[in-house]
């Protein structure tokens, strides 16, 4: 390749790659194409909340974290309730006993007076 041929090629390239102004309706056409609906719906990336497996796993983990707390809390409250009820029961039985003993004492006292 000689020097002249090289210059020609360069000129041809410059001519073909020269900057040209866009046609006046180019912007409008481009915007119209961008706004136009696609021939088929573009698949949206699925949220993790909608993936059944992920959801099940999350639910299991949440349950594993919550259930022991709930069970322990329930047991603690039941124990407190039971101890309160036991104290009430002992009080009730003590009052009953005292009343019965007191009445019995009175009967004995009356009987000893009669004798």
């Amino acid at each position: 390749m000689n020097e002249e041929t090289g210059r020609d090629l360069e000129q041809e390239l410059r001519a073909s790659l020269k900057r040209e102004a866009a046609p006046p309706d180019f912007a409008a056409k481009l915007m119209a194409k961008v706004g136009a609906p696609l021939p088929f719906p573009k698949p949206k990336p699925q949220s993790w909340l909608r993936r059944p497996l992920t959801l099940a796993l999350a639910a299991t983990l949440a349950a594993m974290a919550i259930i022991p707390t709930v069970v322990v809390d329930h047991e603690r409250r039941e124990r407190a309730r039971g101890l309160r009820a036991k104290q009430d029961l002992l009080t009730a039985l003590a009052i009953t006993r005292d009343q019965l003993q007191h009445a019995r004492e009175k009967v004995r006292h009356t009987a000893s007076i009669i004798q």
Partner: protein, 198 residues
């Protein structure tokens, strides 16, 4: 028509059967509301209402079966359907009236109830009632004890035997509750969490 008649007859039989199956006085028949208002004027009050599951729950906390007393109380409580106690102590006479207890006394009448013991000494009046049941058993025990400055009502619902009553009047390892022994003077230093001291 036949179906309606059958349903009506079945319903009538069910009502009669349930009435016969529950000869004892039910807790709701006791007018505790009349008594409960007394806690506002009482120096100290004890209000115990234990029925059904709560009673059995309490029994479950009564200690190990190796403890003779606990086992005895447990076996006794197992026969009970309900335990109700209202005990009040007042600063001075006249803070409650006989009309507060009158509805209760009116309920504790034959044929459901019989007075097995009644003692009156001055203004101190104690009555013990039993609800007789079949086979020499007792369907309930009620105690009403009054004096000018104290009022105690006990109602135990359950199928008890005379032996159980003996147990109830024994100690069974139940600690003394100061100030609530029938008619005895109140101990102001009483340390009882169930008491509502004013």
């Amino acid at each position: 028509m036949k179906i309606i008649m059958k349903t009506l007859i079945s319903a009538a039989i069910a009502i009669v059967a349930s009435a016969l199956a529950a000869p004892s006085l039910r807790a709701q028949d006791f007018d505790f509301k009349t008594l409960d208002k007394l806690s506002a004027v009482a120096k100290s009050s004890t209000n115990v209402t234990l029925d059904g599951t709560l009673l059995q729950l309490a029994a479950g906390f009564l200690g190990s079966d190796n403890d003779k007393d606990a086992a005895s109380v447990k076996s006794l409580v197992a026969k009970m359907k309900g335990v109700y106690v209202r005990a009040y102590e007042f600063d001075k006479p006249g803070q409650y009236s006989e009309s507060d207890i009158a509805p209760l006394r009116a309920l504790l009448k034959p044929p459901k109830w019989m007075t097995v013991l009644e003692t009156k000494e001055g203004k101190e009046w104690t009555q013990i009632f039993l609800a007789p049941a079949a086979n020499n058993k007792i369907a309930g025990l009620a105690v009403v004890s009054t004096d000018p400055t104290s009022l105690t009502v006990v109602y135990i619902d359950g199928e008890l035997t005379p032996g159980d009553l003996e147990k109830l009047s024994g100690n069974m390892g139940i600690p003394e509750i100061h100030g609530l022994s029938g008619g005895k003077p109140a101990d102001p230093k009483a340390d009882n969490k169930n008491k509502t001291n004013k």
